[in-house]
Symmetry: D3
């Protein structure tokens, strides 16, 4: 039934490639099928101004899309002179998701910026960004630990994200672009390694959805993030 021939609860092929750039403290090229996002984590040895003296660190995220990551070329946001509303919404979501697993006192007064730049888009760029962004962040945190800059790893557990949707009346996992354009409802779930919910966002694009749809999509999302977190652990060497 799905354009891709996938089962309702089947994700696209996912890969997480680490250490893909020379300069960043942590990096991960994440692929959810044809959606490719380059995630880098950059450590800055001072926190934002409003945290000075607090003893706490900060993790923030920025999101961008190359102009021709999509079917037709989009105007470059740097040329337009500002980030669009969608971009800001996504990067605020990524930042919140990642901070959910950060031990901010352990991080200390420094800031880690996770940049998620979409090289190619085919649906699910925000969930891929969170999933890959976590890997980049974890690698940067490991580097701090190895250097003795922190006393223990300032990351607690894992976090991943996946989309679900109602497509032709069925709840499905991990929408690609074709499904996404056509789905009645579009949802995103951010879930931790222990199954805790960090963020749930579900939006009816056409008809309103029902309570049982939410329940079904949540179950799919648990399955999906479970698989993603297994891959994160594998690539990060977490037992």
């Amino acid at each position: 039934m799905r354009p891709s021939g996938r089962a309702l609860d089947q994700m696209r092929e996912v890969s997480l490639e680490i250490d893909v750039t020379k300069h960043a403290e942590g990096s991960c090229l994440v692929k959810f099928g044809d959606t490719h996002v380059l995630c880098t984590a950059s450590i800055e040895e001072k926190p934002p101004a409003w945290l000075r003296g607090s003893g706490l660190g900060w993790v923030t995220a920025e999101y961008g899309m190359l102009p021709r990551a999509t079917h037709t070329r989009n105007r470059r946001e740097a040329t337009a002179g500002k980030q669009g509303g969608r971009t800001q919404e996504i990067q605020r979501l990524i930042g919140r998701a990642l901070r959910a697993v950060v031990d901010r006192p352990a991080l200390g007064e420094r800031q880690i910026t996770v940049d998620c730049d979409v090289l190619q888009a085919d649906g699910g760029t925000r969930t891929a960004s969170i999933t890959g962004g976590f890997v980049a962040l974890h690698l940067a945190a490991q580097k701090l630990l190895k250097a003795g800059d922190v006393s223990h790893l300032p990351i607690e557990g894992e976090v991943a994200a996946i989309s679900c949707g109602i497509y032709k009346g069925k709840s499905v996992l991990d929408l690609d672009y074709l499904e996404d354009s056509d789905a009645e409802t579009d949802a995103n779930f951010v879930i931790t390694g222990r199954g805790g919910l960090v963020e749930v966002q579900a939006t009816a694009e056409g008809l309103p959805f029902m309570d049982f749809h939410l329940t079904e999509m949540l179950a799919l999302a648990k399955k999906g993030t479970g698989e993603l977190i297994a891959k994160q652990r594998a690539v990060l060497g977490i037992a």
Copy 2:
């Protein structure tokens, strides 16, 4: 247990005052306790450029906050030179929520802009905006119908929104500012007159939340939006 002394499932006092401005085609001053939002609906007799020739109408929303609507003064966005990420996120949400009940072919090639300006804020400005914005929109649609510009009312049913949260471990309805600053989880629900879900957004501010929390908050939200929709019907004279 709640700072306001309200029961867990008790909303603040809500009022919807209509026809509060002289110029707008529809207007509603909505109050959720100390949160006051002035909503106006403005009809423009041509649609956005991308809809020309489609026969479809459009409803969009803009959101703003007076600089001193809050405890301390915020910088005016017109002075800052752009709308912040939070503002854009909220106005995109309001627009999606209202469009869920718009019959766009019946509206025809025109645009209605719903402006939601917060005069005083005490938590829940986005849910008040959706609830009051719907009333303003409905009034403007009635005006179109009375003038014979549309053949039937281009609105199908009602839509309202309410926040819920997990506060000191309990699921509660309609957070005010004090609770909002302190809640472990913050959620917003947009629900139609028939109980269909238009938007669900739940965010862990501290610890992740559990599936049962989502279920509890959804039940509270159904109760709350039911009461709001009853008030909308009363003020709009809908049987």
Copy 3:
């Protein structure tokens, strides 16, 4: 002769409602007929950078108009990305007018920002803003005095403003929108409680005007501001 049926020297009905918002240190909802402006005064316990160490305080004003305060909707300035020239001109005028009655050494190194937001416009928004802004400012100053933050009230006297115009060849007081659109000359006067002139601005929209017109309009303005200042004193409880 006037569209409203008023006498040449008759102002619209004026009201000054104080303490209309919960958060601001001073607030006043001013109405000149159908022109409604919400004025708030916000105290900030540090002055602008260029006054540090001077022992002097500062009073500044910002002006805004809700998008549908007018007959047809105007683009939101926050969306446009900047304040228009008219907006800046008006807020600079309001600031100058208010500073004319401020005792800046008595205020000390703090800043009071007076926000004037037009909820509904029907001509004369700048003069209503000055008149209501003064009330909000005075209330904030009283709060400083009561709290012992200043040794005496940092306000000297009162200030109010009114428009005049040449309409169908006659000098008239307090133009409403209909008159304003049609007036040959449009003028604004800012005058103190003792009758001193703070600002005179007169602009020929069509034919140039004559010296005697200026004299006539000044006399009308003295009458008008006299009445406004009586109302300010009443609402502020100034003997």
Copy 4:
């Protein structure tokens, strides 16, 4: 008594040099003492969008100041990313002043932009701009007439501007920078060749001023603009 040794009613040396640039349809380098402004008038053979089909022309003005026209260098507005409030206020004033003598139907559907760029500033830049801008505009209008593009000169009479002030308690004509920084009241008058008032702006910088001050300054301004208009006529060859 004046720093420059001038009499109370004495203007600085004024010169109007025409045809100072190669490309503009009209140009005038105006000097009021050490204040030097280069004014150019540029004809565009189509009106602003909102005038299409109206048969009417438009005259607009822009004002700028070279970064080091002043005692200390000011930030270039092109670098700052916007025109300041003062700049916008001034260019709006210049535009209004010039339009007061334009025969817009005779001009027809075209636009003339008068650019006033301050090469060196010593007080009175806005009045010099209006005075010199009129000359540039007139020259451009003559060019239209000579080319047969208009049936008669689309300018009716002349317009000039001068500042006055209250300096050490005395009304004085044509403030230079030293006086301007120190004046109790600062005023600008825009007056036509027949003595009609186009714009009167008087602002108390310190103490409020009195009615008789306004009368005195108006008389000085009449004298000053009379002299300026004589110079305009001379340089333009108007009988």
Copy 5:
């Protein structure tokens, strides 16, 4: 003598990988050592407004750098609200270089935009962009030809670019970051497949350079672009 151990006239390892993205009409991932640039060519079936009716096409370029392409993170230009001067200078250079080999009448009234986004930077990003951008452009042009949209390939010959410099007194080819930071002179050459010069830019960073330096660097650049063009031909299958 060079940090990399390369001979004075030795380029870094260069690779040109084509068809690296799914959506763009042409794409090339170009690597000059550790400098990696993703180049895409996007065809738009209408030209810029100023070319309508001319029968001519246009090729333009945009350049960007991921925030962490460099040693330390740079602020994202979309966040900063504008493209920096360096970015604009580079993208103007790329556009000019590519247009030098475009047959604009053959291209017809369409526009090709070449986006060059630096994924990792180690010196020479602008020369890599031109070299890889040409490949992406050529692929897009081939697509137009295959589709019958143009009657012959709208590209004449090839174009490539390479940097040279004076490093420790010696003329060297293809500076990497370490050399670039330390070079006395930095130069860029854009050269066609037939050896014609399209652009020469040489800048003394420290001491001025001499005529013979320019001659030496030009000879090196000819050698380098010869090698680059051979690679371009190989990957594009040009005999």
Copy 6:
């Protein structure tokens, strides 16, 4: 053969007029034929933030063009809200050129900003700006020396710039606007008083150019800058 009737190696008439503005520490009105640029040098007694504590000074340049300096009026950059790419490119070039002759330790921790504002344009504005900007800078440096703020003149030698081009197949010196619009190649050379090369920029506008063209143009540029530097020395009183 040249539209102006000049010989191939003949510059336009050049003049350098100094001390043309009252406020700037150094100023020069430079004319290359009908190209007129007003250059001012402004000393600021603190360096840019990134140089604090370094003991080094900085020289920077800004470039602007009056809206009607050209054949048709250009939009004012302050109105457009940003400097265009061409403007930024030129001002970066001027800054680099001037810094080539600055002794930054001798200058000490201060900044000199050289503003180059084009009053009238007829080709070669950037080379005129560098040539006149050097004179303004030198005058400001002399003022520092006379005041005892520096121990020796923080300028080493002279710098000037000239354009060359290939026009109708011939290498020519100092293009005016007519030639510039029509030239096959356009080049700019920045050269010191001792004949050292500071910057070489040559761009093919049509067909690529050959090595011998570069050689010819370089020879012309040496001749031209030789003449310019003689004029600089004369006006500055350098032996």
